[in-house]
């Protein structure tokens, strides 16, 4: 074999090897830098998620504080004023007045009592003292009891007693979610039967709301919560994020169900 043939062969082998080394090193650098970028982006994403959750938490906490403050003002200030007004009303001597004045007086008393009762109702709605004192199950039961009306709507509540009475700080958020869903169901779905049940196991609270109204599917919920006027659904979603919970809406023949699965730490 001639020297020239050997040279060509050597050049070929060295050339291919050099090209391969160049290509492989660039490819490795490329993959390595992209991995670094991916790691960095994941870190940024994680930080953004933490920040977002902190903002949601702060918003929800401040909302609760504001609700508490308004509830206290209503109960302690306006409730007290109306209570005092009622006391004065009851002490008015009306026997000497004519029949028309007596009727007006009676009407005024009824309206005043009604006002006091409404103020108490709003105050309790804004800040559930039952939730604070007796826990989530009692608060949900009490809330549903107030809404149920024998001839219009039947609400059955079957909550797991194993759920600790004062389990978590998150109870207020779970309660608000249930409150918002029940209000929405009554307002929009118009059912005549609602069933609320819960199962507590493996540090998870599975809360299910079933109703026979015209409810929402998961897809409809996803669509509605991005609409500007869907404040209630946005609040629900924010609280779901805060709780790190899972929300599933589904339709089973004539019934609709809402399932909330909340990890309890």
């Amino acid at each position: 074999m001639s020297q020239e043939s050997n040279d060509i062969r050597l050049l070929l082998v060295v050339g291919i090897a050099a090209m391969l080394m160049l290509f492989i090193s660039l490819l490795l650098i490329f993959i390595f830098t992209q991995r670094k970028k991916l790691q960095y982006q994941n870190q940024v994403q994680a930080l953004q998620d933490i920040q977002k959750n902190q903002l949601i938490e702060a918003a929800i906490r401040s909302e609760e504080i504001e609700r508490h403050r308004i509830a206290e003002e209503l109960h302690d200030e306006i409730g007290a004023i109306l209570g005092a007004a009622s006391l004065h009303f009851y002490n008015v001597k009306i026997e000497d007045c004519d029949e028309s004045s007596q009727t007006i007086y009676q009407k005024g008393r009824v309206l005043l009592d009604d006002g006091i009762s409404k103020i108490r109702g709003i105050s309790h709605n804004l800040h559930s003292s039952i939730l604070q004192e007796f826990g989530l199950n009692e608060a949900v039961g009490h809330f549903c009891g107030k809404l149920a009306h024998e001839s219009l709507i039947e609400i059955n509540v079957n909550l797991d007693n194993r759920y600790p009475t004062r389990a978590a700080q998150n109870d207020i958020s779970i309660y608000r979610i249930v409150q918002e869903f029940i209000n929405n169901i009554i307002k929009h779905a118009r059912p005549n039967k609602i069933m609320i049940s819960s199962i507590y196991q493996n540090n998870y609270l599975d809360l299910t709301i079933n109703h026979n109204g015209n409810g929402l599917t998961q897809a409809q919920f996803e669509e509605l919560r991005f609409k500007r006027d869907g404040l209630g659904l946005k609040n629900i979603q924010n609280r779901i994020i805060l709780l790190k919970a899972e929300l599933k809406l589904a339709q089973q023949t004539d019934d609709f169900s809402i399932n909330i699965s909340v990890p309890i730490f």
């Binding site: 020239e4 043939s5 060509i8 062969r9 070929l12 050339g15 291919i16 290509f23 490329f30 970028k37």
Partner: protein, 221 residues
Amino acid sequence: MFRIFQIVIDWSEVWALLIPIPILIHKKQPAMIKSVVFYVWIAFFINLAIDLTWKLRNYLPTAFNSNNYLYNLHSVIRFFLFSIFFIKLRQPFLSTIKKAIPFCFAAFIIINFCFFENFFDYWKLSSRLLAVEAILLLFYTLQYYLFKINDHAEVDIFNSDFWIVTGLGIFVTFNFFIFLLYNELTIHLQNFAVTLWNVHNISFIVFNLFIAKGFYESREQ
């Protein structure tokens, strides 16, 4: 056994293209990689003609029993279609050079085949053409990676264009020196040149596997 292996490798320039073809029939490809789709179809017919000419050379008239001009044609078409592919990626990096290269290559083809070589040379394919094509495609490939290394926008690296570019990179990396020295090898080391063409064929199979992966990963953008 070796004979069967040799037949399979000889025909690999045709059957390798049957790897990406079913995927592109099954899955509509985005406009960005349409030029690669064209390449696959055109390469399939050219390579079929190349192998049929080679296998039936004893039955064909002398004027038509050389397939070297088909390799030249394949090279020209491959270069222009992949140039379109790289330009269509719209990477704002060396844009002017990338757009100028096809014109330079066209000028090179005209000058080379008017004054120095014969495009329809009966005895040999154009080593110069294939080597220039390979080095220019390698340049496109390397600039793709360099752009991506400095790019901060995208992190999903294993997308369709990555697979296609990597397949092309592997193919031209292996073949640049083979193309460059092929005419010399056929003169001095004919048997070695024939064996070496198997390397070209195997790298072509790998190239097609990557193209198939690229087609599989593609989505409308």
